[in-house]
């Protein structure tokens, strides 16, 4: 089915109600991070990651040379090399080899590249028997399913569902209780396939240019049998797998098993260099020794073009360990199948975009919420969310901005009109449904948004209209001039919190100014890839803040802070004048807790105090992994008299809001929120502290609906209350 024909939302709904898969994925998501770290005991993970990144980044820069060397070395050893531009080229070539060699039976050991090009179809069309030999792949192929994970293809199934596949293939009742029995049945069945196969097809975890060898990493040992028993060995390898030297393989091997399966090493790591001998029965039934035939297919399928692109070439740093899926809060809820193509998760969105076309990428690029958790584990240090942003931006360049997103954004950009509109809608719409500070029920079509969480009410007086009154409290001899950037949430919704930001700053002797010409930071429109609109917003904000000549530009929203401080700088690469202005602007931008903690520290006020009301702190994704700020909010809580910090489980796991994602995909967002609420509740804290208004909206809404005894507060609220 093509992407356009698919109904992603209903597929997601189906996966969310698959209790078996949900059970398996949540258990796995819980166990994986600890098991991974255990496998790295005694190792300097960051140094290993940097080694791998460097090696692969250098390899892609000389990919043509590596490919030439690799090809020459395979040929020098008697192998044949075929360079395939597309999947169809691979299929034509393979069928030709099969015909030349009278191949009737083929065994495969896991090759993602062959899945990528739907290789198996060409064998069945030509009456050639083909069998996957990796247990998981073999099982799911029986029912025509696709792998849901690169390393654990059958993770979505339980033992009883697996047993059904055995029963169908073996024509005998196979009990689901007995996993060892199933394993032995698979061994016997597949052993015959290995022994009788004419051709073995493998992928490769790496290909070595200096000697033409390929490396295969497996636990079952199927790759060793596929490369040993059949008389023909075909290697299907993508260009991104090429590395210069044998010793460079170590840079992959020290990370791939640990990240992939939490093992220091898989059971088998096999390197095959050129054709090897095979002993077989000749026509007289006598055993003789001869040379195996080896064919190596180098697959392009979009890879060489990606290699030339300064952003996309980073996908060459991927070693297909799938750890990015294992820590992805969305993947671990919806599983791999909804991503459509063979590669799932964030990296899957990227690979699909590059290998299967940007149209296929676009539809499920939404499923990356930019929480950056994957960037903390990726062995090749690929900035997955940034590459997704780049793909979105190229998509928008080619196809334009989706009209709903852009008209919504235009409203955000015109602050006063937007607030008036909101208020009007709120007075009409929210009045009957509002209880206190939250909207608990929304009528009809919006009901999904308030299921399991309340939405905050729109502030009756937006923050900007309070600034006149607040600025009267500015100190007469200020230490610094701080220009406050509120961002949309802190202007329209959490205006009270913005007031508290101002109070805390004024208490520190700061003069606070609020440039009225400021607009939205631009993240919503940049997030969907419209860079042109993003540039206009950035210019508007830069001009607004230049006009007030501040010492510091401060925001209490980490997403805004990240956009102002980091993204703006990248928007004007071809414009020297605006690059300079953006640089001056970005240099002054600071996040609220970071600024306040530094000032407290300088004043000797950042000292831990003893006990009090229990507060647990939730790390916002953009705060922790975007800005790298996580110590300061904790230090501020600890320094506040009457408060005691208690940590929650998975304190830095996304709460599920993630910009507009939480609204657009409410069904995925809510299970994430429920988990967060549970973790907060388990601490026994009375207050859940945040430093991000989007998390505040989501967690506040979740607590209000599910755990009303616990209140959400911004760090600025906590600090202001004690002034």
């Amino acid at each position: 089915m093509t992407m356009a024909e698919r109904d992603l939302k209903s597929e997601i709904k189906e996966k969310l109600s698959d209790d078996i898969m949900q059970g398996a994925l949540s258990k796995f998501a819980e166990q994986y991070p600890g098991s991974r770290l255990k496998s790295y005991a005694g190792q300097d993970i960051e140094a290993l990651r940097e080694d791998l990144r460097c090696m692969k980044a250098e390899a892609v820069d000389e990919i043509e040379k590596l490919a030439d060397d690799f090809e020459a070395n395979v040929k020098a050893r008697g192998g044949q090399v075929f360079r395939a531009a597309t999947g169809d080229d691979v299929k034509k070539f393979l069928i030709q080899i099969c015909k030349e060699n009278g191949v009737k039976r083929v065994v495969k050991s896991k090759s993602m590249a062959s899945e990528e090009i739907h290789l198996n179809e060409c064998f069945t069309e030509n009456d050639i028997r083909v069998k996957e030999t990796d247990l998981g792949e073999w099982m799911i192929a029986i029912k025509g399913q696709r792998p849901s994970h690169m390393v654990m293809p059958a993770i979505h199934l339980n033992r009883y569902q697996c047993a059904e596949m055995f029963t169908q293939e073996l024509h005998e009742e196979v009990p689901g209780e007995d996993i060892p029995y199933m394993i032995q049945k698979a061994r016997q069945t597949l052993r015959e396939e290995f022994l009788q196969a004419d051709m073995g097809i493998t992928g490769a975890n790496f290909g070595i240019a200096e000697n033409g060898a390929i490396g295969l990493v497996t636990n079952e040992g199927n790759a060793r049998l596929v490369t040993t028993l059949p008389r023909i060995h075909v290697v299907l390898i993508g260009y991104e797998k090429l590395i210069p030297k044998t010793e460079d393989a170590a840079k992959i091997l020290r990370l791939l098993p640990r990240n992939g399966t939490c093992q220091r090493m898989t059971s088998y790591m096999t390197m095959v260099d050129g054709p090897t001998k095979i002993i077989y029965k000749d026509e007289n039934g006598k055993y003789v020794e001869g040379d195996r035939k080896q064919y190596v297919i180098l697959l392009d399928n979009g890879r060489l073009e990606a290699a030339k692109d300064p952003v996309f070439k980073q996908v060459y740093q991927c070693v297909r360990c799938a750890s990015c899926l294992n820590v992805c809060p969305i993947w671990t809820l919806v599983g791999g199948h909804v991503y459509g193509h063979i590669y799932s998760g964030g990296i899957g969105a990227i690979l699909t975009g590059l290998l299967n076309g940007i149209e296929n990428f676009h539809k499920f690029s939404d499923l990356c919420i930019g929480c950056r958790k994957c960037t903390t584990v990726c062995p090749g240090k690929i900035p997955i969310p940034d590459i997704i942003d780049e793909l979105r931006s190229r998509y928008v360049k080619a196809h334009g901005t989706p009209s709903m997103d852009s008209s919504f954004f235009n409203m955000l950009n015109d602050r006063s009109t937007f607030h008036n509109l909101l208020l009007k809608a709120a007075f009409i719409g929210q009045a009957p449904f509002k209880t206190g500070k939250y909207i608990r029920h929304l009528p009809l079509f919006l009901a999904g948004m308030t299921k399991g969480r309340s939405l905050p009410a729109i502030a009756s007086v937006q923050f900007r209209d309070r600034m006149d009154r607040l600025s009267r409290n500015n100190p007469s001899k200020p230490k610094k001039r701080v220009a406050y950037f509120s961002g949309c949430n802190m202007d329209f919704v959490f205006a009270d919190t913005s007031e508290n930001v101002v109070k805390v700053l004024q208490n520190l002797g700061m003069e606070v100014v609020y440039p009225m010409a400021q607009s939205c930071c631009g993240k919503p429109i940049l997030g969907i890839g419209d860079r042109e609109a993003g540039r206009k917003v950035a210019q508007k904000n830069i001009m607004a803040f230049e006009a007030v000549k501040p010492d510091v530009i401060l925001s209490a929203c980490p997403t805004c802070t990240e956009t102002l401080k980091e993204t703006y700088l990248k928007l004007f690469e071809d414009d020297a004048e605006w690059t300079r202005r953006a640089m001056d602007f970005c240099d002054k931008v600071q996040e609220f807790t970071q600024f306040v903690a530094a000032e407290y520290k300088a004043a000797g006020k950042l000292m831990p105090t003893a006990g009090g009301v229990k507060v647990t702190y939730h790390d916002s994704c953009h705060m922790k992994r975007g800005l790298g700020v996580f110590e300061e909010p904790r230090a501020l809580i600890n320094a506040t008299p009457g408060l005691e910090l208690v940590e929650m489980h998975n304190c830095d796991k996304c709460c599920g809001m993630a910009g507009s994602f939480g609204m657009k995909y409410a069904e995925v967002s809510l299970p994430m929120l429920e988990e967060k609420v549970k973790n907060i509740k388990n601490t026994g804290a009375q207050i859940a502290a945040v430093a991000c208004p989007a998390c505040m909206m989501q967690i506040g809404g979740g607590l209000d609906s599910q755990e009303p005894g616990v209140k959400v507060k911004h760090i600025a609220d906590l600090l202001a209350e004690k002034l």
């Binding site: 030999t133 040993t228 010793e247 170590a250 090493m265």
Partner: protein, 204 residues
């Protein structure tokens, strides 16, 4: 037997990379990967250990490689053949009995402490079927040949790997494809027994 390198210590090991001091770490990590380890002083002890293991498994057919390069092993292979226990060391015999043999006995070149892996030179077809097809794989290795980590192992392999087939073996064949439950022996052996001999050189 065809090999990637005839003499790994001389041609590949290099200065100071291989050190018996890494043994303990190798042993811990190999055991963690479900390998079983027997460390012995010399080939006489190794033979006793092997005889004990064979009693447990009561094999009918044994495939054995590495005797050509090591007279001590060759002698052992000759002596473990008894009425009811056939031992195949010829490559064509090994090919003939590959699907029915109960035990495969093979050799490894050196050990990796970081991962508990054996580095195997499996250029020959017979070495591969011997170590992969039977349920039990018993491997002889020099207990003094241990390297610190995978980087050193790949550096050593890189010295001599110009053609053929080699790699790491770390514990028995395993899968966790059904409910992530660990199961051994899916395609390769379900037992990997390592007999590490201190005085290995004398056998050569």
């Amino acid at each position: 037997m065809e090999k990637v390198c005839r003499d790994w210590p001389k041609e590949a090991f290099g200065e100071g990379l291989v050190d018996a001091g890494y043994w303990q770490s190798f042993e811990e990590n190999a055991k963690a990967a479900a390998a079983e380890i027997y460390r012995v002083k010399n080939f006489a002890e190794a033979e006793k250990q092997l005889a004990n293991l064979l009693k447990e498994f009561a094999p009918k057919e044994i495939l054995a490689v590495g005797g050509e390069e090591n007279p001590a092993l060759k002698g052992i292979y000759e002596r473990i053949a008894q009425p009811g226990i056939e031992v195949f060391t010829d490559k064509f015999d090994i090919a003939e009995h590959k699907a029915s043999a109960d035990i495969g006995i093979s050799t490894a070149e050196f050990c990796i402490a970081e991962t508990g892996s054996l580095v195997v030179d499996n250029y020959s077809y017979e070495a591969r079927v011997t170590s992969m097809l039977p349920f039990v794989n018993i491997v002889f290795v020099n207990a003094k040949y241990v390297v610190e980590n995978v980087s050193v192992a790949c550096k050593i392999i890189g010295q001599v790997f110009t053609k053929g087939y080699c790699g790491f073996v770390t514990g028995p064949s395993r899968t966790a494809d059904i409910e992530r439950v660990l199961s051994l022996g899916v395609h390769g052996p379900n037992r990997l027994l390592i007999i590490a001999v201190d005085d290995f050189e004398r056998g050569r």
